[in-house]
Amino acid sequence: MKRSVPLLITALGGFILIIAYFIPAAQGWGEVAAIWFDILASIAFILGGGNLIKIHLKKISDKSAGWAYSAITLAAFLITLIVGLGKVGINPNPKYPEYALSGHYREIGSPFWWLYEYAFKPLTATMFAMLAFYISSAAFRAFRAKNLEAILLLGTAFIILLGRTFTGVYLTAWLPDWMSGLKLENLTVVIMSVFNTAGNRGIMIGIALGVASTSLKVLLGVDRSYLGSGDD
């Protein structure tokens, strides 16, 4: 029973979405199923928030490694929650001046807006910016010419990188028109549009079939491992 009901709901929701794709009259059913998922996810968010508080309070209480980060996480979470839900510092909507909480929670200049603009956004941007360094270190490792395949990869990457810069265009600008296919910028286009696209499409076809097959297995209840073991 514990597993049969989720399987039934999964199958019902999945088949409704498939039917809704082909039968216009059933389109509304698909939208209803999607709304139900959003409702469930929203309720689960409360569960997630509760879990966040519990886990980090435990870390602080146990003084486990990095507990100070947990304290900062909890403080940031609670401050944002209180400021956002309480609409702290937000002016009432001019249409309803008698209601103190009628203003928009993202009002420019409000504490919540300030937290978003001057704390959240810079922190996010910092994490994203770190990606550049990781790309460099990964490229350094990936492009080491250890064997024939690695040499081919290195050569291809070299052409692509150069072909997308002014230097690359400048380096092969002297080639005559009848050899224009060998110009770096043209080689880049050929590599990307022929070899890269062919490889990418091969992967995409495999993925599409894999998605369809896995979905079918889930809908038919053949694959139950995401619910735990296959036993009821």
């Binding site: 879990n51 435990k58 996010t124 994203f128 495999g206 993925i207 079918l216 735990g228």
Partner: protein, 402 residues
């Protein structure tokens, strides 16, 4: 005052000229198209109307375009411009209509000078009708039936005892090795089920691998930590891990606090996991699910701490990053085959065989399309046979496969 003969002559001449000019203008108006008809577009969602008209008598002489307008009432001032079509075109499918409204349509012929003909308007209002089946998706429906049918057929055959083989997948073979290594080193195992929710099939495929990882970890007595970026995924992952520990015969070792929620925010999640990896140095890291920009940050951090790393995703843009930074990577369909591979159940292996039928269909489609295009190019697109091949290839691409 004497009548000025010159003035009279000038006046007469001006009137004559004006009269001629006016007549000339009337003559320059293009003849209007005629017999406009509007009918419901067949087999659609109830958003389209087909318009047809008879071309203007000046169609190949002075008409530059036909302008088409729509209105929810017959008031001449309420018509809204829809678009233009070229001379020689006598039909148009009007899209994005509301089936709860009734529409009038009008067509005007316009010449090079911008002179517009008298408009022709549909006699009565018409509403688009929603059909019970979307005919535009019929080819896809047939492909779906064939594909799903083949998967179900091969599942049935596998259940009947047909032996099926599956090739070795290094990334999945490495699961046992990675968990064993973590156990030997006395460190934890980190499992990241992607950053998408439970409505993403990759997350479900990731949890399938988690089931296996957790089962082996339970058998070995290793610690599996699963930080999630969605609450629903946390709930599902807890069920998965708990069931795996139960299957392994170690239900008492299950600790639900090791499967926990971090944040929905992408880079907030990455910041937490990265910090945790640096502090706790897990011996094995699994990245199984849907990833975006965070893939490389996580995998490079795992590489830095010397963890054995296995990744699996169906996000083509992230695959190169995982390949560069991880020890093993499950590429696309290998990731989805993990469940069948790890369980070895006949039902699941049968579904992989059904998937192969899908590949044959795709390969056949590619071969037919390439053959049509090649023959069309060889014969020349200007010849009738060449253009027929090109049209067939275009139909395959734009109608059947879209």
């Amino acid at each position: 005052m004497r009548p000025n003969i010159a003035s009279i002559f000038f006046l007469t001449f001006t009137l004559f000229c004006k009269s001629s000019l006016l007549n000339g203008q009337e003559n320059s108006f293009p003849n209007p198209p005629s017999q406009i008809t509007a009918s419901d577009h067949p087999w659609d969602h109830g958003e389209k109307i087909d318009l047809n008209w008879i071309l203007s008598a000046d169609d190949q002489i002075s008409v530059k375009i036909y302008s088409i307008y729509k209105s929810v009432d017959s008031d001449p001032d309420s018509f809204i411009f829809i678009g233009n079509v070229n001379p020689g075109v006598f039909s148009l499918t009007v899209e994005k209509l509301d089936r709860k409204e009734s529409y009038f349509f009008k067509v005007i012929a316009v010449d090079e000078q911008g002179n517009a003909s008298v408009p022709i308007v549909t006699l009565s209002a018409i509403s688009p009708t929603r059909e019970w089946f979307d005919g535009g998706r019929f080819p896809l429906f047939i492909i779906t039936i064939i594909f799903c049918g083949s998967v179900i057929y091969w599942i049935y055959r596998a259940r009947s005892g047909l032996p099926l083989q599956i090739r070795k997948i290094a990334g999945l073979e490495a699961v046992d090795e990675a968990v064993g290594r973590a156990t030997e080193m006395g460190r934890s195992i980190l499992f990241i089920p992607g950053i998408q929710d439970m409505n993403e099939i990759q997350t479900i495929a990731g949890l399938t691998v988690l089931s296996r990882v957790a089962k082996i970890a339970a058998e070995y007595g290793a610690k599996v930590e699963v930080p999630t970026s969605r609450s629903l995924v946390m709930t599902a992952a807890r069920e998965t891990v708990q069931a795996a520990f139960l299957t392994a015969g170690r239900p008492e070792s299950y600790n639900q606090d090791l499967v926990y929620y971090v944040t929905d925010e992408q880079f907030g999640y990455v910041a937490y996991v990265q910090g945790m990896m640096v502090r706790e140095k897990p011996a094995a890291c699994f990245y199984m699910g849907a990833f975006f920009a965070e893939s490389l940050i996580l995998a490079e951090t795992g590489n830095t701490i010397g963890a054995i790393q296995v990744a699996g995703t169906a996000m083509p843009a992230q695959l190169p990053f995982f390949v560069a930074a991880c020890d093993y990577t499950l590429i696309g369909e290998e990731f989805f085959a993990a469940s069948a591979y790890l369980s070895g159940e006949p039902d699941q292996l049968g579904s992989l065989k059904g998937q192969d039928i899908g590949k044959i269909i795709v390969a056949a489609g590619i071969i037919i399309g390439v053959t049509f295009l090649t023959l069309g190019t060889v014969a020349g697109p200007e010849t009738s046979i060449g253009s027929a091949f090109m049209a067939a290839a275009e139909y395959l691409k734009s109608v059947i496969l879209t």
